[in-house]
Symmetry: C2
């Protein structure tokens, strides 16, 4: 006879999937989800002699350039190396050090350490004052409007900044945050954890992922009807996963929309230097656009985010970035400082890379020529690879792909045969997930299914970076092309 007890057995776990934090359980993050986990497992199997129809996993699921062998910028790494080991900066070692390091790298490292003390010490919780001053100068040079170091917070990457600032805003579960669809899933994941409501607005794929204020207003109004108090609007510019870059006029409309509806603008501008059509689609910062709109917009509340992980730097593993607050109430600034201080400080090597990003070698500096050469090589190659991948996607049966004005991704739509959709259903997968899993097993290429970013119901997309190195790029494209043809043949209706 079975005895059923109402008290938990003493060997049952105290914490389980069913009594843990339900907000955490709800969060989803496809960029490192099932596909990424499977690709990690394949890597291990490959290393242990496992047999696959490919030699190497190519992680195009995440904008991680150095994992795909992009070389770091020499000057940046020289400074990072020197600050780790201050003995190298001593006069008695100068002669030998100069055989390995550029003189301006040595000078910069000295200047930083004179200001910081040791990179092994906790810094100011808001970030090293000197570096925040340099960030402010960078912003004012970029925009032509002043920036204030006391309104800049250094962070462990833009993601940490987004999480920290969203946390400030969410007062109760009916606070809404407008997010683009498709979006980078950091946003939905963070809102799930914070127990806030995502308020989706749709980018128009048929108009090059265009953003209209009509759609913003529709989204806002619909949320209001559902008693959601919309407090902020996230704009990712250039877009992730969609790669579009906003026009100045469009940005002004967005600022007007925010003012009219009393919504804080959160501007994710981490791809600001990944601009591939600089003539037709240059990058404008929201700070510059806002400041050019005149006194009427004084006090407008905005936060903008930047990162060392993207651009031509790609120092993802280091975890560095900053955000700039504009027009926030002083009490909120104090609270941001307090919450930053609980985590003590952003890692100092990340902060130093922010310094290098905003203050790279200048014309005439000993390291300038090499810096310029390395930077341009990455930049022009990214333009080429973006174009090549777009053309490849557009050549595939049933596939259409907008071009990337910026960022590191393409987000093609694929129209899958009904038989493939049925097979996906049998496998218990979304159709685009099913496609991406098959691609991974056949080619070693790891992409992320569109369902992880959000997409119009009934459509299927995937996101791929164009980061594989130039010498491997043709092979990479050929592999996908071959797989796609086979997949379509197999499931053709």
């Amino acid at each position: 006879m079975l005895t059923i007890s109402n008290t938990p057995s003493s060997t049952a776990k105290i914490l389980t999937g069913s009594n843990m934090n339900p907000r955490v359980r709800k969060a989803e993050y496809a960029v490192r989800g099932e596909l990424a986990i499977r690709s990690e497992a394949i890597k291990v199997e490959l290393a242990n002699g496992g047999s696959f129809p490919f030699q190497r996993v190519v992680g195009c699921n995440i904008g991680n350039p150095q994992a795909l062998d992009q070389k770091p910028i020499t000057f940046f790494r020289q400074v990072a190396s020197l600050v780790e080991y201050p003995d190298l900066l001593k006069d008695e070692n100068r002669e030998i050090a100069l055989k390995l390091y550029a003189s301006d790298a040595i000078d910069r490292a000295k200047l930083l350490l004179a200001n910081i003390g040791s990179i092994g010490a906790y810094s100011h919780s808001q970030g090293i004052p000197l570096i925040r001053e340099n960030v402010a100068r960078f912003i004012s040079d970029r925009d032509g409007f002043p920036a204030d170091p006391s309104k800049i917070f250094l962070t462990q990457g833009a993601s940490a900044g987004v999480q920290l600032t969203l946390q400030m805003i969410v007062e109760h579960p009916n606070v809404g945050i407008m997010i683009p669809i498709p979006q980078y899933p950091l946003y939905t994941a963070t809102l799930a954890v914070l127990d806030a409501k995502p308020v989706p607005y749709y980018l128009d794929e048929s108009k090059a992922w265009g953003l209209t204020t009509d759609e913003l207003q529709r989204s806002y109004d619909e949320a209001a009807k559902n008693k959601i108090e919309t407090r902020a609007l996230v704009i990712i510019n250039p877009g992730n996963p969609t790669g579009q870059c906003l026009s100045e006029e469009n940005m002004r409309e967005i600022v007007e929309f925010c003012k009219k509806n009393r919504v804080i603008l959160l501007a994710d501008e981490v791809y600001q230097t990944n601009i591939y059509q600089p003539e037709q689609r240059p990058f404008h910062s929201f700070k510059k656009v806002l400041k050019s709109m005149g006194a009427e917009y004084e006090g407008f509340e905005m936060i903008s985010y930047h990162s060392i992980s993207k651009g031509m730097i790609g120092e993802c593993g280091r975890r560095g970035g900053y955000f700039e607050c504009e027009g926030l109430d002083q009490s909120i600034m104090n609270e941001i400082y307090k919450i930053s201080s609980i985590s003590l400080c952003p890692n100092v090597q990340g902060q130093i890379m922010v310094d290098l990003m905003v203050n790279p070698p200048k014309k005439g500096d000993p390291s300038y020529d090499l810096y310029k050469q390395e930077y341009d090589a990455i930049y022009f190659s990214l333009i080429k690879r973006a174009k090549k991948l777009e053309e490849m996607f557009n050549s595939l049966e049933g596939c259409t792909c907008n071009s990337a004005d910026g960022a590191m991704y393409l987000f093609p739509q694929v129209r899958l045969p009904k038989k493939a959709i049925a097979a996906a259903e049998v496998a218990g997968k979304a159709p685009d997930q099913f496609y991406c899993l098959a691609l991974l097993e056949a080619t070693g290429v790891c992409m992320v299914a569109g369902s992880g970013f959000g997409q119009v119901e009934g459509t299927a997309h995937f996101r791929s970076t164009f980061l594989p190195q130039p010498e491997l790029f043709d092979g990479f494209c050929a592999g996908i092309t071959k797989f796609h043809a086979g997949f379509m043949d197999k499931y053709r209706d």
Copy 2:
């Protein structure tokens, strides 16, 4: 006539102190609170020629050894420097590199990079597999029981690990987490943000900050009476701010208490090498104690935390650490991985320092002698400074101080005159805060008032590190002694 409108004025801020996240607003973190902020302001004034009765601010508010000029371990920094700049590892540079770097530092950097690729790439979200293997080996060597790399998560410092794991546990606002009083305020701050209930248990100052299971049970039972569902118990061992080190017998009782009451044990063991009475009060890990308790404790749920910021390493600014999960349900492990992946990965330089911490030079290695010499110099000096500061505190009028078995702090009690308490009230400060502010203005020494850690009602304490460098230590003690005498004279009843 005044017109009063119910709709917010268009210039009023959207986000203010009164409609922000109330859980964030509630959080307090005294270690970087009013005293630390004032000390930062004094630093700036001093740098700009401001006049104070001292030349330098001495930050004893936080365990930040390198900010007080503790030299980093040379071998560690050599490896950190080399991994930043892989060109130094090329054969053609070996001859020059060997003039600046030890050969085993070069070998270690090569091994790490061969495994990692680039430190500029996002790593595995759980931490670099090789480094987790080394952590597991370190734990099993330390404890004599096996450890599993798949149950180890690398983090950006122990604080990040504590925040992440507490987040898993808090299902609803009546979840309680037992914390010591006095405690390190990371815990109360994190519980405030998570909207959980701190369940305080008191350490007994009259018994060298002893911890009894009677007091644990009283605390648990009282919470239960208030309908609080206590899910976890935080133990800080060695204690912060109190410096006590638990006996093995006491630890076994604590494990029994947890099992009996179905409470997860969270063991903050970041000070495990800061042990100053190694004969009478050696460090035992909870993992070892648990594993030695036999099969009955199979499946016991525990998380233990470690850090590169403490010990003789003191690499706080780098933000690195790990936690090891014991007996957690697999679904919880998966959720911990997911939530880690949303933040992408811990910074790689922090991970590398974890590797160096758990795998330092060994006897016979070229760097061993220097490593040992540097490590021991810091260690024996800390023992001396802890003793000296304790004696100084015990020599002050109205002041008593337990000795530190471990950690980096002393937490003396000071019995303030009634007149001082009245003056504090007039100033709108807690008495111990009032005392610490006066100390800061008079001497430049920044401590943290006991009210920031919690203390028995009506008592006053403060926490000070004993980290000022040996050559400054006597002056540091003399300054406090002189201030204290003057303070007591001024307010004597």
